[in-house]
């Protein structure tokens, strides 16, 4: 600090003596913070103990993992995934996830509007119902949805697609409604001030603000649904999950590796594609 700066400090500090005891966290808060920290640590210790987690097993973790991948998963059995039957199941999986994602997203638009705290047009009844619906969809794992729906509807793609649709609503509905909850209030107020109805407010003040976020979430959702679709076949709901289960059961890890590889390839292709689509969509929406 140079001389000038000190001089300035003195001069500005001179007229009044500001409270020299200012603290970022005043007394009770500071205590609460330490208590909270302590509680978190105690909870961690308790949880580890209650779940019988033996941390000693982590020693040599990466070595074992490396060995596992280099010896048992590598090399992936590429012939396995090049069989037409398998490739056909990949197409089916893609179709299933596509269909479920489109259905789920279409259903999610009105549901998430109802389920957004700030913009719900029907707060008393619609809001809690929509929330509960989204939560119900989300509380059941996609594999369990599959098992349940297979039990009800029998084997085939129908229970698979439905399970994925429900899964998709649980996921998208929540993200969509959260995107709505984050919008700026200004434009909403401006549109409301013109005397527009709730639907117009949604179309003009909400949609333009969430459009890009929603497009992103939708593409991402498809991604997530696709990954989920790779396992609904475990329980007879169609797609490549069947092959994954078979090779896992047979501990044919080279096949498992190959299947994972094929999933990753599809995902990467879809990611490149979706980045491109998103760019196009963003431009088209501008």
């Amino acid at each position: 600090m140079d001389v000038q700066e000190n001089a300035y400090n003195k001069r500005t500090a001179a007229p009044t003596q500001p409270d020299a005891t200012w603290r970022r966290f005043k007394y009770p808060q500071s205590l609460y913070r330490y208590c909270a920290l302590l509680l978190v640590l105690a909870f961690l210790a308790y949880a580890i103990q209650a779940l019988n987690i033996d941390l000693a097993r982590l020693s040599g973790f990466f070595g074992r993992l490396g060995e596992l991948f280099s010896q048992r998963y590598y090399p992936p059995d590429l012939d396995y995934i090049m069989r037409p039957k398998y490739l056909h199941s990949v197409i089916e999986t893609l179709q299933m996830s596509y269909l479920a994602a489109v259905l789920g997203i279409v259903i999610s638009v009105p549901v998430s509007w109802l389920a957004s705290y700030n913009m719900s047009p029907w707060k008393r009844v619609g809001y809690p119902l929509a929330r509960l619906f989204i939560m119900g969809c989300r509380s059941v794992h996609e594999m369990i949805w599959t098992i349940l729906l297979v039990a009800i509807l029998g084997y085939g793609f129908l229970p698979g697609v439905l399970a994925l649709t429900l899964f998709c609503i649980g996921f998208t509905g929540k993200l969509f409604s959260e995107a709505i909850e984050k919008i700026k209030r200004g434009p909403v107020e401006a549109v409301r001030a013109t005397g527009a109805g709730e639907l117009s407010v949604f179309v003009y003040a909400v949609l333009p603000q969430v459009r890009v976020a929603w497009a992103g979430i939708s593409v991402y959702t498809w991604d997530v649904v696709f990954r989920a679709a790779t396992v609904v076949g475990f329980f007879g709901a169609g797609g490549m999950g069947w092959y994954l289960r078979e090779s896992m059961q047979l501990t044919a890890l080279h096949d498992v590796a190959a299947i994972l590889l094929s999933i990753i390839i599809v995902v990467i292709i879809s990611e490149v594609l979706s980045a491109w689509v998103r760019k196009r969509v963003a431009r088209a929406m501008a």
């Binding site: 909870f43 987690i53 299933m96 509380s139 369990i144 995902v267 990611e271 088209a284």
Partner: protein, 272 residues
Amino acid sequence: MTSATILDAKTAHIASCSRRNRATRYGIYLAIFLVVAWSVDVLIIKDTDWARLGNGTVGRTVMQFLNVDFSIVPDLLWPAWETLLMATLATLLGLVLAIPVAWLGAYNITPLGRFSYSIGRVLMTLSRSVHEIVWALIFVSAVGLGAMAGILAMAIRSIGFVSKTVSEAIEDIDYGPVEALMAAGANRFQILLYAVVPQVIPVFLGNAIFEWDINIRRSTIMGLVGAGGLGFSLFRQMAQFNYGGITTVVLAVLVLILFGEIVSRYARKAII
């Protein structure tokens, strides 16, 4: 200055612009619809055995599920608690691991340009591409049976979602505060800490809570690797064909997630 005809021409121009936009939009909708129709045809209309669905067994099975078996509720208390603990540990671990990945994978703050950005993105893709069932199997080989394998599997899955959403949040932060700090001569780390972190904290915590409830859901299948919890209870009910019991376990998961919602409501209020 402007005559009425020019005004008319402009009006017509704007109308045609929006019409053109509308045309492309409808084109896209049509394409989406056609693929949907094709998929519906192949997967649902042709594949489903409608006769079998029509013979009343569907209704009967649904009724069996609706006959909720509350007698098993006491048996679910400890597993529910275990599930909660597992999901919490997995989420915490996942969040800690997600922070560096998000940092690498956000193009506006990634430390080494394209190189580190790609690493971040690859990690995100890997973590999300592989289903938790497969991760669980991998971790059984690495740490044996039990809750740890399940927790690791869930944590790895969490990385993908949290780091992706957080890095996206980082990519579209308000640049004003960043400029203000740049103008004050702050270094990169300080800008990260003061202009970026406060802006993405709501997203991070929001997604942490979301991920927590996804993990509650996930932990219901971690019974596969001996992780116990509600997943094992669910399996027991299924193995015994106690349809009503299955519904009860599913309801128990719903209660846990409802609990998560309430916690998240409070947390959100406190933080944002």
